[in-house]
Symmetry: C2
Subunit: 200 residues, 2 copies
DNA sequence: CGGAAAATAGCACGATCGTTCGTGCATTTC
DNA sequence: GAAATGCACGAACGATCGTGCTATTTTCCG
């Protein structure tokens, strides 16, 4: 009340909405997200929520972007504090593990990838852009490890990025269906084997 | 023709419906499947389609089973004609490759796994049963290859099954987003490396 | 060919979907 | 203090959702 609720109100409310929307989308996917359900979850009216985005698609895009930001700030950014090369690469994988543990009940980015890979539209484009952007970051970290001599000089960057990504897909998949502990063990063992075969 | 030709119409119509439902579910997932849309696609009335299943959930379960049957008959069964051990295991992977090529626009079994891994209900149970059943088959083929000396005797069966599955997840993922050719190359290279490190 | 049985269509229901519109209440600006 | 702006609400829209009921049509068997 005393504190000035300037145009700040809009931004904070929008973030509150996106918080709830992200949580709902983790369970039901971006396609399962409904404005009515979201409004009830937030404690607002349908039209109040709707006004913040203008359309359902814009809401979905905003939730996708929320997921991207959270992933980047939890997985990529902390790893950038590690020295280039293998340490940073292993930090990325370790942070990604933590992400998977917290998202075993559903990851918006992954479900979005499987929801929109077969259609076209703004959401498809957003997913592809997000996924290829992350793959680029992964390849960049791998390339640095190769240049610094941490990985074999004949390492195929895109190939290793694919295999890392595949293992994390396996982790997400098995963790969601069979439990995280068993899946984590398998994934960890696979990574050890992977590092060993590419390390110098 | 023999004796059980009483309600022949029912079975054939049901299969026609499931054909269309399977195609629709490949694009929109089992959650995106609607009875009205399915009826329009088949060319029947909503109630006519509905009567064949009794509920939407039963329809979704039937579609899931359709997917399972097609996967088994296209991937597993042809491979059983190959001799036990590594030949059969490689045949499974090869058939799985073909499956992924034909399903790059969306695989019902995989999308169902990500749609229902975070909730509970009959569909969740069905997905888990289907996935663990397939994993068992995979492990059986691996175990035979170990027993026959085609794979190293210290091979951890569950571990190798996980890695194979993870690579196929990577293939599906990348094929859907970035195209099958590039994804197929990466996956093939990863498999060669995988065989080499476990082979005797 | 006729009659029983099965399969499909037609219609209606309550609920929910995304979206639009007008309005009231704060807060800011003049 | 008056005017303007920002934000959320409530009501209502046409559409579609899944699911019942009741006819009507089609299929099958004697």
């Amino acid at each position: 009340m005393t504190t000035a609720t300037q145009p700040r109100k809009r931004a904070t409310t929008r973030e509150t909405i996106l918080d709830h929307a992200y949580a709902l989308a983790r369970r039901d996917g971006l396609e399962g997200l409904s404005i009515g359900g979201l409004a009830a979850d937030v404690g607002m009216s349908k039209s109040g929520v709707f006004a913040h985005f203008g359309s359902r698609e814009e809401l979905q895009l905003a939730v996708l972007d929320t997921g991207r930001n959270r992933f980047v700030s939890q997985v990529l950014m902390p790893a950038l504090k590690q020295p280039r090369g293998l340490p940073r690469l292993r930090a990325i994988v370790a942070n990604w593990f933590a992400w998977a543990r917290e998202h075993q009940s559903g990851c918006v980015l992954l479900s979005a990838a499987s929801e929109y890979d077969g259609r076209d539209g703004a959401l498809h484009d957003g997913v592809v852009r997000q996924q290829s952007g992350w793959r680029d970051e992964l390849q960049k970290a791998i390339a640095q490890a190769v240049e610094l001599g941490h990985l074999r000089s004949d390492t195929e960057v895109a190939q290793l990025a694919f295999e890392i990504y595949a293992l994390m897909l396996g982790l997400h998949h098995d963790a969601g269906l069979f439990g995280f502990d068993e899946a984590g063990q398998c994934t960890r063992a696979a990574f050890e084997r992977l590092w060993r075969s590419w390390q110098t």
